[in-house]
Amino acid sequence: MLKKTLDISSSPHIYKGRSTDDIMKNVVWALLPVAFFSIYSFGLNALLVILTATLAAVMTEHFLCKLSKKETTVNDYSAVITGLLLGLTLPPSFPLWMAFVGGVISIALGKHIFGGLGYNVFNPALVARAVLQAAFPVAITTWHPAFLPDRFFTISGSIFTGPFMQPQFDAISGATPLSAFKFDGVTASTAELAFGQISGSTGETCAVIIALGGLYLIARNMMSWRIPVAVLLSAFVLSGILYLINSEGYPSPFFMLFSGGLMLGAVFMATDMVSSPITPIGLWIYGGIIGILTIVIRIWSGLPEGVMYSILLANAISPHIDVLVKHRVYGTNKKTKMV
């Protein structure tokens, strides 16, 4: 005899089975090789900075959920991504207490103040980095050389600076290829840039590993391919045009593509789904703005690097981009708004 009670539900009854925490988890998997390379090139320093930022972000997320008497959202992995991304954008010998403050800021001011996952206007990791850049301008622009022979055994003194103390940086410090170009007019070779034989933020130095992580996410359909393509393409085209006009005064487009945080930003930061547009056309516009702004800041501003500010600016206008995008619903003639 058949049982009497059945469950009922409203169709559809099957699902794609890819959930939000799956996507987040896979972003973490894609970021891990980047973190490993950064530890390989910068040693214990990078390990400590990345760990501190990540821990701070995760703890803040948990604490804020408890504070607002909600179920903790740590297990959706989004805080791990934010912390990891922040850690990967900091210099390798960055004082740990500052990295910790950054982690707290990213989740508290970057995310929860807007309402948590799904509501943040800006990429939370970049909000924190912008705050750190304003608060600690020296520490965040003091670069540590890569591939020091003793990197797995010694830790820079600056790392353990006490809160509100002046950090003492090691006598030897490296310059990033972008600052070397900006202030000294020296450009690194594309191969050095692509394979991370350079100094820079912990996670931005090896363009190839970053790009592979992005390809993995795109292949698993967990990231919009349009954003990185739009960012890199627009940056390449603009810097390419400048290079063609004056190859003495401007660096080659390949240098622009592989140096600084452009690859990391294009693949892992600009692609934050929440703070980017939702319409396909909107994604192209958004990516294009980031690429062009980055080159403009790098070449014509006082700053050597512009990825962070470009993405934050594009985040700010991304809802408006969607509002501007009009499209035609099936069977209608007039174009209607999308958002």
Partner: protein, 452 residues
């Protein structure tokens, strides 16, 4: 992939759920046994319920008229078995509402021969006679919508039908009903098309079939009658291609205007199994007694494609095929748009194209709903290019009027692609169903107020 949409032979967006058809697509249609008691609801099609013309205790022959059409948008009902009308009263239906209906007790020893009626000759009959014959046979859309076919075929004044499209897409996963009908009933299909061409005045017919039924397409192509202006077109597999509007776009690259019918672009779409039924019944003047149904799903023991009398109780069907102890959900129709059954005492109706049985572990619905992360998967899935993400946010705030006025809510035909792809498990299409219902109610109220 809006940018690279140069590809013809398809519609925009859509999804690719696992097809899950392999287990039943090779199984020939088999006759199902007669249930001891048949339960026939009178409201099993869209439109007015049929009006009962028999009385309790009356003996009826298989194929005899039990109920006449209750109006123009209605169809008659015929006896699926020879037997005795045991009771006339309310019977349960899938919606949960009771409907007037007939309990028919089958004669166990009957030969179950079908009564013959007035045959309709496709060569001499007028279009009106064919439409009347289709209504008299009790034919409704067998793809699932159960809309009276003669109403659909009636070309409105001033309109012209150029192309008749036969819908052999069957894009719902699991279902193989139309697939088997195309492989086994080609004669009926072509006879049916002859009637349909005459009734609509269409000059040619296209049979649309998805590429996962290439064997059916080859079979129909091989048996195409020379004098019939019919072509077979194979389309790439994509859900919801079986939706009329999507199919028209895929086949002839025309868009049916919002809020109107395919005839606006000179097309009438008929389900392939409906065409086969017309071809089988009209030459004998008979009425529908049975239909082909795929019974499948992980919880079913004897999966297959069965010819089942209309009105067979679902409980009897499941007992015959054998189901898993742990059944948890039963659906009538496919997994994307089918309706969950709350009560096994309902019966098979003319619109039932499949019965799906899922056990607890097959229902992979997640109880955890995340916030919308604006990934855009729903935007990339919606076949009519709505923004389900935005609509979902508005639905949460019950901004139903804004959904309808600014974001084309009423164009949504509830295919469920958005809910299927949503990684945050937001019940988007479910919100939209509710919202549409509320908007319709409010509009009706407004009209009443204007009249009052």
């Amino acid at each position: 992939m809006a940018l690279f949409n140069f590809h013809k032979n398809t519609f925009k967006h859509g999804i690719h759920p696992p097809e899950s058809k392999d287990e039943t697509k090779g199984l020939p249609i088999r006759q199902f046994p007669f249930a001891p008691v048949i339960i026939l609801p009178m409201a099993q099609h869209i439109g007015a319920p049929s009006e009962i013309v028999v009385r309790e205790g009356q003996e009826v022959h298989r194929g005899e008229l039990l109920a006449k059409a209750g109006g123009y948008v209605s169809v008659p009902m015929h006896a699926p078995v020879s037997g005795i009308v045991r009771k006339i009263g309310n019977v349960p239906t899938i919606s949960g509402k009771m409907s007037p209906g007939i309990y028919l007790e089958a004669f166990p020893a009957s030969t179950q021969e079908v009564l013959e009626g007035k045959p309709i000759d496709p060569n001499t009959a007028t279009p009106e006679e064919i439409l009347q014959g289709i209504q008299d046979a009790g034919i409704v859309g067998l793809g699932g919508a159960a809309f009276p076919t003669h109403v659909k075929l009636k070309i409105p004044e001033g309109k012209k039908c150029d192309t008749l499209i036969l819908n052999g897409i069957e894009c719902e996963p699991y279902l193989t009903t139309d697939h088997r009908v195309m492989l086994e009933q080609e004669g009926d299909i072509f006879t049916g098309i002859t009637y349909l061409l005459k009734a609509t005045g269409a000059k040619n017919a296209i049979i649309g079939i998805e590429a996962n039924k290439q064997d059916a397409a080859d079979h129909l192509t091989k048996h195409l009658p020379k004098d019939l202006p019919v072509s077979v077109k194979v389309l790439p597999v994509k859900y919801p291609q079986g939706a009329e509007k999507m199919l028209i776009t895929a086949l002839i690259d025309k868009e049916v205007p919002s809020k109107s019918f395919p005839i606006e672009v000179g097309v009438v779409v008929v389900n392939i199994a409906t065409a086969a039924e017309i071809g089988r019944l009209l030459p004998h003047g008979r009425g529908i007694q049975e239909r082909v149904i795929t019974i499948t799903g992980p919880g079913v023991k004897k999966k297959g494609n069965y010819l089942i009398p209309v009105g067979t109780p679902l409980r009897f069907v499941l007992e015959q095929v054998g189901v898993d102890e742990e059944i948890s959900e039963v659906y009538m129709g496919g997994p994307m748009m089918g309706v969950a059954v709350s009560n096994l005492d309902i019966s098979i109706v003319k619109g039932t194209s499949g019965i799906l049985v899922f056990t607890r572990k097959d229902v992979n619905r997640s109880s955890k709903i995340y916030p919308c992360i604006k990934c855009g998967a729903c935007v990339d899935a919606c076949p009519i290019l709505l923004n389900p993400s935005k609509l979902g946010i508005l639905a949460k705030f019950e901004a139903y009027d804004e959904m309808a006025s600014d974001f084309n809510l009423m164009d949504c035909f509830e295919c469920g692609s958005c809910t299927y792809v949503c990684p945050s498990h937001i019940p988007l299409v479910q919100y939209f169903r509710l919202a549409k219902r509320v908007v319709r109610k409010r509009e009706a109220q407004k009209k009443e107020e204007v009249h009052a």
